[in-house]
Structures are given as C-alpha cells and as structure tokens.
Amino acid sequence: MHELQALFGGFQVALSWFNLLLMFAGITLGVIIGVLPGLGGANGVAILLPLTFSMAQEPGGQTSAIILLSCIYWGALFGGAITSILFNIPGEPWSVATTFDGYPLAQKGRAGTALTTSFTSSFVGALLAVLLITFLSPIVANFALRFGPPEFFAVYLLTFCAFVGMSKGSPFKTIASMMLGFALAAVGIDTVTGQLRLTFGFIALLKGFDFLIAVIGLFGIGEILLTIEEGLEFKGAKAKINVKVVIETWKELPRYWKTYLRSAAVGCMMGIVPGGATPASFMSYGIAKKMSRDGDKFGTGIVEGVLAPETAAHAAGTSALLPMITLGVPGSPTAAVLLGGLLIWGLQPGPLLFTEKADFVWGLIASMYLGNIAGLIVVLTCVPLFAAILRVPFAIIAPVILVICAIGAYTVHNDIFDVYLMVVFGVMGYIFKKLDYPLAPLVLALVLGDNAENGFRQSMLISQGDMRIFFSNGLVGGITVLSLILLFWPAISSLIDVARGRKAPPAAG
C-alpha cells in the first residue's frame, strides 16, 4: 500500500495551520467567484497567480500555493450551482445542466433541498475522483494517451446522443435550436484552416460567441424578462426556510446510489480524457434521464436531476487535474491556468512529477480531500442563507442580478460589446421560451460544437476522408456504438418491450 503511505505523507504536508487557513480562504473566494457569472474559476485563479509567486519561493511553499489555487477551483465548482438553482443563471458553464431541475425545484419552494443535493453531490463526485487519482493514477493516466482525434469526436458524439431526445417539445424545435447553436459555435477563427468564418467583416465578431455570455443572456436575462411579465416576484419566495433541510435531504440521497456511481464514472472519464466538466454534466444528465425510473419527470424539478450533473461536473473537474499533473495537458480552462502556475513556480508537470516532487503531488492530492471537506462545510452551513436570498423582494434583487450579469458578461473578455450581446441573447432566450423552443440543445451545441467539429475534421485529415476511422479500434468503435445505441434508445427500448410481449407505448400521445 505504497499509495496510502504516500497519501499520509501528503496529509502531513497539507495539514498545517497555515495551509488549512489557505484552504478555507481559497474555498470562500472560489464560492464567490463561482457565484458571479462570467468570472470563472480560470479568471479567479489567473488573478491570484501572481500572489502565489513569492509564496512558491519559500521551502514547501509550492504546496501551499497550489492548495490556495486549487481550493479556489473547488470553491468555484461548488459555487457555480447556487445561482443556477436560485435564479436560473448558471454561475459557471458546468452548472447549466443543474438549472434544468435545480431551478424548478427552487420554484416549488425546495431551494434548500436543491442546494443541499447539489453541494453533497459535488462532494461525492469529487471524493470518488480523488480516490481514483490516489489509487489508480498510473493506469488512468496512460488511458488518456489512447485518446486521439477520432476518440475525442466519439466522446462528443456520445454527449450529443446522450442528450438528444430529452426535451419534450417537438423534435423539429429541438433540431432547430441545436443547429442554431452549431451555427453560433462556428463564428470566429477556425482551428483547422486558420480562417475567419461567419464574421461578415465585423471586428466585434472575431472572437466568436462565447458560451458564457450566451448562457448569462439566454438563462439569466431571459428569466428576468419572463418573471417581469408573470408578476414581479419569485415563485420560490414563500419557501419555508428550515435549518434541518440538510439532514432531511441527506436521508433521501442514498437511494440514488446508482445514479451517483454512474455520474461519477462519466465525470471521471470526461475529466481524465480530458473532455471537460461541462460536457460531463450534460452527458450525465442525459444518461440519468434515460436510465432513471423517473425519466419522464426530469426537468420538472426532481432531486435526481440535480444530483446527476453536479456529481459528474465535480468528478470531471477534480480528475481533470490528473492529466495536468501526469501529462502536462490541462483538462479544463482552470487546469490550464494552474498548469501555467506550476511552470512559473519552476515545476515540470509530466510523467516524472510524481516521483521527483512526491511531496508536492501528494500534498496536492491530500489537499483535494481536505479542500473538498472544507468546501462542503462552508457551503452547507450557508444553505439557509442562500435560500433566504429568494425572500428578498424581486424589485430589489432583479436590478442586482442584472448588474451582476452585466459585470459578468463584461469580465469574460473585458469588452463592452459582450454586454450588448448578452442583452440580445436575453431577448432571444425570452422569445425561445415564449415559443416553446428548448434552450438546452442550443447551449450544448454552442459549448461542444467547435470541439466536436475539430475532432471530426482532424480525424478526417488523419484517415484522408475515410469514415471507418470511427470504428478503427475497440475504444473508438465502442464509444461510437454506444452513442448510436443511446441515440436510438427510445426505439430500442420499445422494441425490447415488444419482444417481451408487453404492449408498446402509443407512438403519439
């Protein structure tokens, strides 16, 4: 049990008063950063990076520095869900899927339950991912090496297929929304040809449509417009605030252990590959909906719909640090900044870091356990407080939200044009909801469209146009087949029912 010994060594490094203080400071800061839309974990860590520079020059200081920065990251992972649940505004890209059930739950007056579920699931996801890193890192790190362009495309295909068909509206509207998302994702520079696309000569469109700005507008501003129309108050406002909500929710959660395991597995895979926390949350939500007995109720505000994406997002966010440490490849934008930090401090992320800087690596891993426990304590104690925000009159909170959204949109690129863009997306979000078009497919296509397209075109370059590359080995073939099964799951499951002699559900309700 070499790992356990090393891990205890790590705890010794991480468990100093100074480091514990940094942990709580980092988590608190991270939660605030996570709550503010636009100001993502990556920005937060980047802003604090220079502060850690002097710290990292001290003996043992590199561990303290990474503890501070990684705890900001954990905090942001926890915090992103808060505004998703309370106001339907995802604080971070990976909390978009949390809005699908978190916000309806809050509207039903169960904001406390939704928050507790989200935080607890985040913790469980992270814990399972850290366990994986602790005991299986050498094996798992090499697994990531098997992912070339075709494998990446297959993973994105899997995400889309897991998600397609989950909206209840007409398939035409789903496809229209998704295609619009793909079109928006294509604007800006094209990695494969190095050319600008769909900018029509407008300088402002050079950088394309940022996912965060679209999401702040579509969800946040759109929701506020709707609320203004429907009567100036929050539906969840009359919720009873119960301090025991945490305990009560915890009693309910173990029942979903299967969803936990499945979501954590999806999250870990997406973190290690590295596909990222955002696709992981979407994929996990889609799969949970297909596999759950309550599949029909997803989207109406059920606990399982919050649990699945949050577990996966946090598992992915945590395991994304593994390829960063062992391969020097960041699994998420935040990991990319952390990686830059390691290099600036004079560390060399890569296969040898585990042996050469064992103190540092195991200190970091130990801090993942401690940091997430610290994070859980910080956020859970604040659940009643967060839920109470909904009691603030709409007339006060709505302008505050608008200002925060505008600041958030501005922060993404330090560009005032993005604020106008946010308003346009807000109106679009409102129209979408009025006309009953689903927003989720658009968002999914916008966040993954570019990567999926790159994966596909890189694969085509490699195979010189031969589609068989997507079945060329067991790994890529397996993922592709799984995607196709998921895509046709409704047809397949009714076929199974027929085969079993049960009456197939009527085709049209």
Binding site: I344, G350, P351
Partner: protein
C-alpha cells in the same frame, strides 16, 4: 494691496513655470493600472511569460502602479492586437507577442500590422525542436525524413498548434527543403500536441522545448534537431545522457530550416520615447532577476535580447520572411 496681490499672482506663475521646467527632467511613469495584453489564451507560452513578468514586477516592486494581465485571444490574437492598435498614445498598455503578430493579419486579412504598434523590447526567442515518439526507430532527422519519403506523400502526420501559424509554416518549409510530404494536423495547444505524439496519434511535432521537455525526460519523446542556426546554449543534462545543447541543428543534418519565435513586448502606436524608455528600464530589471533566469533555463529559450532600432529592424525582417514563407505555402489571405 493691489500690488501685493499682483506680486502674489506673479509668484504663483513663477512657481508654476519652475514646476513645468522641472517636469521633463522627471522620467515618465504610468498614470494608472497598466494593462498587459496577451493575444493568446490562458495557460499558453505567451500567457506564462506575461504572468511571470507580472509576478516578478510585483515581487520586486519594479513599478509603482499595479499591472493586470488580460487575455484577448479571439481571432487568433487579432482581438488583442486591435485593442492595442485602437489605444493610440496610451502609455498604460503593453502587449506581449508571439508569431501571430505576423501570421494573423497575413492569413486572415484582419487590418493590423506591427507598424501600428511601438516595439519596446525583445525578451527572448522561443526555439522549435523536431520531436518523434521514442518508440519509433528514427534517431536523426535524416532517418525520419527518409522514412517519410518512403512511406509516401501525406502518410506521416505532423501535429502542431493552430493553422497557418508557426508550426505549419515550419512544416511547409521542411517539406520544401526535403521533398517529404506530411499531413499537417492542427490542434489547439502545444501540450495537447505533445500528448498526441506520446499516444502515437501523430508521427512528429515541432513543439517548443517547454511543451515537450517533461515527456522527453520521461523517455517518451525523442528530439531529432533544433530549427536554429546554432545548438541551444544549455549544457546541463536534461535526460541521463543528453543536454539541450546536444541536440544538433537541423541545418547540420542537411535539413536547412531555421525558425525562431518572437517573445517581445510592444506598446500602442504614437507613444512618446519617454514611455518606451520607462518600460525598457523595468523589463531590463526583470531580465536581471533569478526568477527570470530560471524560467529561461526551464524553457531552453534563445536569450537574444534587443531594443530600439535593432529590434525594429529584426521585426521588419521577420515580417518579410513570414510573408515570403506564407506566400509560397499559399497561406496568404485572398
């Protein structure tokens, strides 16, 4: 009474005149927070260097005003360059460049040119090394080029960062000089390229030293040659038996390709010489710090350093070379 007032007024005027007379003697300093623009994403090579410079300035108190690093990576960096171009005369803004200073306007036609900016200082040049997977039998660049020729056009896959940028320009130049034909696969970042090479999804890369060094040390990658006129000046052993200086130049192996990437600092156009001198002073102090030297060692940078006319001439020459190379490759915007 009146005369007294007058004399008082006169005194004030005199004092004022004395003050203005003193001002030119005081060197210019930033008047508010300095924005350090990075025309690339967070975590990349330019971003690392910018954040290191920011860290060193903060740690050693080299500037009175604070400095913030802002990434403007849209449109292959065009977003950042256009931002600085539009800030004409603003002394509180600087930008770090990579080769996209030349390649982005040439490949996309976005209206900017280095002449819209004021060159301040060349901090270093980044090296490019030809890498292959250590499991392959190729020991020299000659072996590899021969194998590529034998395999047939387009069979060997060269991975690189972005399209119509430095990595692909080197690849095209390599093809021109050797007659071998590669399939170029563009990825989003150098770290990804190195991992794809370790995983065997591509056959070679032209990664910068810092992007590939950890995989080299772990025995997963093998350097074949460096695209510089002389071997790198770092003699400390990186692996058991090799230092950066042991990697031969590509030219010495019969592959006559040279390419170095600018890591330099610019300001907006129309700034005064005082402003430029101020930043040259600060950056020179940055270059003296042990932290900077350590960073140069880690990344095996070519520590060529230039300011003033020499730097301006170098940039003008580099632009001309990029235009030639990109015209031959058919990468110019139509």
């Amino acid at each position: 009474m009146k005369s007294k007032l007058l004399s008082r007024g006169r005194l004030a005027v005199l004092a004022g005149a004395a003050l203005t007379a003193c001002l030119p003697a005081l060197a210019w300093e930033p008047t508010k927070t300095v924005e350090f623009i990075v025309p690339a994403g967070t975590g990349g090579g330019a971003d690392q260097m910018a954040r290191l410079i920011q860290s060193i300035i903060a740690k050693h108190n080299l500037m009175k005003q604070p400095m913030v690093v802002i990434n403007k990576s849209g449109g292959a960096g065009a977003e950042g360059f256009l931002d600085v171009k539009s800030a004409k005369g603003d002394g509180n803004k600087i930008i770090i460049t990579l080769s996209n200073l030349f390649t982005t306007p040439l490949a996309t036609g976005v209206p900017f040119n280095w002449k819209d900016l004021t060159p301040v200082e060349m901090m270093a040049l980044d090296e490019f090394v030809l890498w292959v997977n250590a499991k392959t039998p190729y020991k020299t660049s000659k072996d590899y080029v021969e194998a590529a020729k034998k395999a047939g056009p387009g069979k060997m896959k060269m991975g690189g960062t972005g399209s119509k940028q430095e990595d692909q320009i080197i690849t095209v130049n390599l093809q021109k000089q050797t007659g071998a034909k590669f399939t170029y696969i563009p990825f989003k970042g150098g770290g990804t390229v190195a991992t794809q090479l370790v995983g065997g999804h591509i056959d070679s890369s032209v990664n910068n030293p810092i992007e590939a060094v950890s995989q080299w040390r772990a025995g997963n990658l093998r350097p074949l040659c460096v695209f510089d006129s002389k071997p790198m000046d770092y003699h400390q052993k990186i692996t058991k038996d090799m230092a950066w200086s042991d990697i031969p130049t590509c030219k010495s192996q019969g592959v006559d390709v040279e390419y170095l990437m600018l890591r330099g600092i610019f300001m907006p156009g129309g700034v005064s010489q005082d402003m430029v001198d101020y930043y040259v002073g600060v950056l020179n102090k940055v270059r003296e710090t042990p932290e900077w030297k350590q960073f140069m060692d880690n990344g095996a940078f070519n520590q060529t350093h230039m300011t003033g006319k020499a730097y301006r001439d170098w940039v003008a020459d580099a632009e001309k070379r990029h235009e030639e190379l990109m015209r031959e490759a058919g990468f110019l915007h139509k």
